[in-house]
Amino acid sequence: MKNLIKDLMRSKAGLIGAILLLLIVFVAVFAPFLDLPDPTRGDLRARLAGPTWDGLFSPGAHPLGTDEVGRDILSRMIHGSRVTLLVATTAVVLGGIVGTALGIWAGYKGGLVDRVLMRLVDIQLAIPLMLLALLVVAALGPSLRNVVLVLALTSWIRYARIIRAQVLSLREREFVQSAHAIGASTMRIMFFHILPNVLTPALVVGTLELARIIIMDSALSFLGLGVQPPTPSWGRMLADGRVYISSAWWTVTFPGLAIVLTVLSVNLFGDWLRDYFDPKTRNKK
């Protein structure tokens, strides 16, 4: 753990990513205490007001402007980040648990289980993820729960493939062989001997998946199939603001910047994490 932090301090990119990410999460978690204007209630007298820094700290100021019904963009962005982060992390964890479990199972058992799982992966890879997500959300209905389920569904294969490959080599290692020799059950070996050794790669995949899922979640809301109004979401803000693009640039610019900044910080952190745990790159330092 100490080494981890030391290495992070040395990596400029990783450190910037980590700090940005902490900041974003902090603001999202404490949003209710920030004394922001109500993100769902508009002020029709102030609709499509441009960003202004005049009277920044007075009540009723809209530093990033307002949308078509006079709702404060900054407040909607911050409340939107809560939804996005909640949806994305839940989906990543859920996809990670399922994908890791299946990857270990297929990799360790081999044979029929493995063949069936790999064919399933093939099938799912042949459907563009976005279309699969759209179809399933349309079928189940766009609710918070269904969006999380769909995003997890697009995610599990990435864990399963990488974990399976790891397990294939772990299976032949001495500590697994000897556990088997002293009569440990398959479940016990998979849970106590294999699992701890694949947690690191799972964590790395998870971080990089988080970035992909944040973008996908925004794309779903952009197409109207994400979390439904009045809950604010970045994608929906972009879709609504698009109509006013020629007169009110701020309605589409700021929510997009929020997505870029969040994804960028996750990617920077994720890249560093991957390099840190990759023996090939670590030895070079």
Binding site: R119, L120, D122, I123, L125, A126, I127, P128, M130, L131, L134, L135, V136, A138, A139, L140, A211, I215, S218, A219, F222, L223, L238, R242, I245, S246, W249, V252, T253, G256, I259, V260, V263, L264, N267, L268, K280
Partner: protein, 306 residues
């Protein structure tokens, strides 16, 4: 080699069958198209009659078997919305999607290839930092937002390019560039790391030591070997883009397959959804099949291993 080709072919067919099956059953959960097709206030009898006409009143498994038998012959039924052969409706959109996808891939490969090589060869220089910063930003930017920003800038503010639509070269520029940014960012990052790894190989030192020209080493030793992961990535990206870049097509009102399928999902037009996704899956599987064969050409080690 023949055994390998046949096995991959079998796996490919299995994958397509799986996709067709999944799509068939998921579309059934979408709801009842009969109720949607008739005007509001239609009687229950009218709805039942239409359902019988569409074959939706039969047991699900029977519908599935009938669907499979026809699908193998390329017959996906008549589109509820367009009143014409569903596969034909989809195929009419293929040129638009293919034009956009292939232009974006070509553009992305050129930009990403040059940027990635520069970043690898000029390691530690300012130029590497600039290139990689752009690549990171390119990967973090959602295509739909980039599309909107480009429309705002070049379409609305400058008025140089159309904000959407299809037909002329000027309509193609913004959507193709939007997708190319993402493609080139991925290619540049992958090519750089792949090249950096290869530059440390013993055979590169040997090639340099025996006095080969710099660019001979680069072209025949570094670039050729670094290309293998790039080929895989390009295949995946091409498959994805040919599957219709749903959001980009929506942002630019581009009449491609992705947009067609979204509209079909909204209208519960089962035949078009099924025909569209099946076609995409076939294209995707075919590309991957060809890429597997291409590896053998690129990498002699893989060729002899079979």
């Amino acid at each position: 080699m023949l055994g390998f080709v046949l096995r991959r072919l079998g796996e490919s067919l299995l994958a397509v069958w799986g996709v067709v099956t999944i799509v068939f059953f998921v579309t059934r959960i979408l709801g009842d198209p009969a109720a949607l097709l008739l005007p509001i206030g239609a009687s229950a009898q009218d709805i039942d009659a239409l359902r019988a006409q569409l074959g939706l009143d039969q047991p699900l498994m029977l519908q599935y078997v009938q669907f499979l038998v026809k699908a193998v012959q390329g017959d996906f039924g008549t589109s509820f919305q367009h009143g014409r052969d569903a596969m034909q409706v989809v195929l009419e959109r293929l040129p638009a999607t293919a034009t956009l996808a292939l232009t974006a891939i070509a553009l992305g490969l050129v930009i990403g290839g040059i940027a990635g090589s520069i970043a690898a060869l000029k390691r530690g220089k300012t130029i590497e930092f600039i290139v990689m910063t752009f690549a990171l930003l390119g990967q973090a930017t959602p295509v739909f937002w980039l599309g909107i920003m480009l429309i705002l800038f070049f379409g609305v503010n400058l008025g140089w390019l159309p904000t959407g639509g299809y037909g002329t070269l000027s309509h193609l520029i913004l959507p193709a560039f939007t997708l190319a940014v993402f493609v080139s960012a991925s290619i540049a990052r992958l090519l750089r790391s792949s090249m950096l790894e290869i530059l440390q190989e013993d055979y590169i030192r040997t090639a340099k030591a025996k006095g080969l020209l710099r660019h001979t080493v680069f072209v025949w030793h570094v670039a050729r070997n670094a290309l293998i992961p790039v080929v895989t990535m390009t295949a995946i990206l091409t498959g994805e883009l040919l599957g219709g870049s749903v959001v980009t097509e929506t942002v630019f009102s581009w009449p491609g397959i992705g947009r067609l399928i979204i509209q079909a999902i909204e209208a519960k037009d089962f035949p078009v959804i099924q025909a569209g996704i099946t076609l995409i899956a076939v294209i995707f599987v075919l590309i991957n099949f060809l890429v597997d064969l291409l590896y053998g050409v690129l990498d002699p080690r893989i060729r002899s291993a079979r």
